[in-house]
């Protein structure tokens, strides 16, 4: 018990001073205020939109907030991992989606039941998660080993090609089911790959692998509690479960942040920044730049794989090769550049702004418009749509057009950022590159 309290206190201290020991506590506090304010703002905005949309009880509002939060957390993790590679070391990895796919599919193949629709090895989920993380790390290292000496633009093209190879192989008939050493395995090919129940389900239900309708009939003690709370808020079981999952996801996200700020503020991170600024200088001072770059690339890829696993395990949990298209990689880049590459706080801010405003915002807005404006026209083509204001409006607000408009907006934002604000929102705000505080000379307190 006392051990626990020590851990807790340490954790709290770490949160208060994420920049480490005698690090830049002021900066950390103002970052916290910034991120906190942003989160409050996003929640306020989405609550208003949820209330204006088809209002369907408190549970529904909470559930919509949960959807945004999950996406935000996923993109925060991905942006942080990419920041390590691109923001710190200047490694232009356009294969993010591929490394995510490797992490997620390895996890699935290790942990899926041998008799499931897509068979796996049936190992415990923990093994699958660790295995997926390690596989993504290993693939990252294997890619980096030869590719790291390429020019930045060639590295970009090679990593993009690599991620497309992964995706094409995963979705191929040949990989959809095969046998190795008498063991049936597969990726499910172009179809979805149902994942084993996530830890939250295991926590809540006696038979977590049953479909939800059946699983709720035999909850565990924790499950009972959750269902009762869910009742109060008028939440369905699946909504409540998702909310719990997303809340628990805060733990790994916090761990990502701490890990990456720690790397960033260490002498290791200092070398990475030197490499990004001028690799020859780092080399001329005796730093084995290749080793640093390969390590960084591998670790970043592993974290991307892990983020993909934590993302995909949520809810019903199904992998689909379509998830891991190059667009996903570009999303992460937009998030990172928006927040400011080079800054971990920037990555967090970028993840929040990107996922909430650019990714989820248009959808929520569409719900509001659908609910409050009665648009009867339903044109099929842009020509029909251009007959008048209302048809045009209706055309642009159709589901497919909203998706497309979102991408157009992303493209415009990306161009704008590169032209006007390559630093992003917070790019200037990088932590100092040292474990101890630098500009002052006073002796440390013991």
């Amino acid at each position: 018990m006392s051990r626990l309290s020590v851990w807790l206190r340490r954790g709290l201290r770490a949160l208060r001073h994420p920049l480490g020991g005698d690090g830049d506590a002021d900066g950390a506090r103002s970052d916290l205020v910034l991120v906190g304010g942003l989160v409050v703002g996003v929640y306020a905005l989405f609550t208003v939109m949820a209330l204006l949309g088809p209002f369907d009880g408190v549970g529904n509002v909470l559930s919509q907030l949960e959807t945004v939060t999950l996406l935000v957390l996923v993109y925060v993790m991905l942006a942080l991992a990419l920041n390590l590679q691109w923001g710190y070391a200047g490694l232009l990895n356009l294969g993010v989606a591929g490394f995510m796919a490797i992490g997620a599919y390895t996890m699935a193949m290790l942990s899926a039941a041998p008799d499931a629709t897509v068979p796996g090895l049936g190992l415990p989920l923990v093994v699958g998660i660790v295995g997926g993380f390690l596989a993504a790390t290993l693939f990252g290292a294997l890619t980096a080993l030869p590719a790291i000496r390429l020019r930045a633009d060639y590295l970009a093209i090679v990593t993009l090609a690599f991620s497309e190879i992964i995706r094409l192989v995963v979705r191929s008939e040949a990989a959809s089911e095969f046998t190795i050493a008498g063991q049936r395995l597969g990726t499910g090919g172009a179809n979805t790959f149902p994942l084993p129940p996530n830890p939250v389900k295991v926590l809540l239900y006696e038979n977590p692998s049953e479909p939800l309708v059946a699983a709720v009939d035999s909850p565990t003690v924790a499950g009972d509690l959750m269902l009762e709370i869910a009742d109060v808020f008028n939440l369905s079981a699946s909504q409540a479960e998702n909310i719990l999952y997303t809340l628990l996801l805060l733990i790994p996200v916090g761990a990502f942040y701490l890990l990456l700020t720690r790397i960033g503020n260490s002498p290791f991170g200092r070398v990475l920044r030197a490499i990004r600024e001028d690799e020859l200088v780092a080399g001329s001072l005796g730093k084995n730049t290749r080793r640093f770059k390969i390590t960084t690339f591998a670790v970043g890829c592993g974290l991307m794989g892990l983020a993909a696993i934590l993302w995909q395990l949520q809810g019903q949990g199904r992998l689909s090769p379509g998830t891991f298209e190059p667009e996903l990689t570009f999303f992460v880049f937009v998030a990172l550049i928006l927040g400011g590459s080079g800054s971990n706080t920037g990555s967090v801010v970028g993840g929040i702004v990107f996922a909430a405003v650019l990714l989820e915002g248009p959808r929520a807005l569409k719900r509001v418009v659908d609910e409050n404006f009665d648009v009867s026209a339903d044109p099929d083509t842009i020509i029909e749509a251009s007959q008048g204001v209302e048809p045009l409006f209706a055309y642009l607000l159709s589901d497919s057009s909203i998706e497309a408009l979102r991408f157009i907006m992303l493209g415009v934002v990306l161009v704008y950022l590169m032209q006007r604000q390559p630093q992003g929102l917070l790019g200037h705000r990088r932590g100092q590159a040292a474990t101890v505080s630098l500009p002052t000379r006073e002796e440390e307190e013991p």
């Binding site: 991170g269 001028d278 080399g283």
Partner: protein, 284 residues
């Protein structure tokens, strides 16, 4: 920085010295360059340069603009691979080694056009330089168990960095972005980084360009002092008075070849050297 630190200690840290011939070089040259050649397209920048540098010396490398001095540095330190020729350092053939490996072997250089890490502060630039920092390894950087040791080493390095910056009169600028420095200050920062690595031998490419005369005197005194402690310098310098006063021997490079070498007095009166300087662009 601690000028008294022995070069032995520097060598100790080198995990790479399992060549039996190493470390027994007190008599021979510390650096030997043989028939070094490098062309860029049509330009033969270095054309058969051959010379040696004795340990503990401050050897001057002079020559008119475009003589190939900087390129020779680049070839020695692995920025470029020579088209042909050999570079031996302290008994080891280091021809074609990558820059980081050359530096870890104990041979560090400064750049003629200062390459400050513009986005990092002056202090961060300097803290980067020391070799074998524990926190530069991945696991010690992230695992909590190493935290104390990493921080302790960082504090030590910070102390040394302060001393170096004070000596070079850069301490007021410690928290500035290196990109905001003036030309002379950048050259000093370049020098600060090199000194922080504590190598056995330092190649300096016009280190004093743009530095005020008082500080220049101080720097030259320090070079002298360091060389008395066993450090070796190869110094490219355009100011002939400086070269004549501080360098011995002096090597003259002309069109990528060694034109003459010897004690400063002899060089000063060498007909061919004068001709080369008058024939090329007149410097100094």
């Amino acid at each position: 920085m601690t000028a008294t630190q022995s070069t032995e200690a520097t060598r100790e840290r080198e995990g790479e010295s399992d060549d039996p011939s190493e470390g027994t070089t007190t008599a021979g040259p510390i650096l030997a360059v043989e028939q070094l050649r490098k062309g860029f397209g049509g330009i033969q920048a270095v054309d058969g340069a051959t010379f040696e540098v004795a340990p503990g010396s401050i050897t001057g490398l002079i020559g008119p603009n475009g003589a190939g001095k900087s390129t020779t540095f680049d070839l020695i330190t692995g920025v470029y691979s020579p088209d042909s020729g050999r570079v031996r350092f302290d008994g080891t053939d280091i021809t074609g080694w990558r820059p980081d490996r050359v530096a870890r072997r104990g041979l560090v250089r400064s750049f003629q056009i200062a390459r400050e890490l513009a986005g990092m502060t002056v202090m961060e630039n300097v803290m980067l330089a020391p070799p074998d920092q524990l926190g530069e390894r991945f696991w010690p950087a992230v695992l909590p168990g190493f935290r104390g040791r990493v921080a302790e080493q960082e504090r030590e390095l910070r102390e040394r960095a302060w001393e170096t910056l004070e000596f070079l009169e850069l301490d007021d600028l410690a928290g500035e972005r290196a990109g905001a420095l003036s030309g002379g200050q950048r050259k000093l920062l370049e020098l600060a980084r090199v000194l922080m690595t504590e190598p056995e031998m330092i190649l300096l490419d016009e280190p004093m360009a743009g530095v005020n005369p008082t500080l220049e005197r101080k720097l030259l005194d320090r070079l002298q002092e360091l060389s008395d402690h066993g450090y070796t310098f190869l110094l490219v310098e355009h100011d002939m008075d400086v070269v004549m006063e501080h360098c011995d021997p002096v090597i003259v490079l002309h069109q990528g070849e060694v034109l003459a070498q010897g004690p400063p007095a002899a060089i000063k009166s060498n007909e061919r050297v004068l001709e080369a300087y008058l024939g090329g662009e007149v410097e100094a």
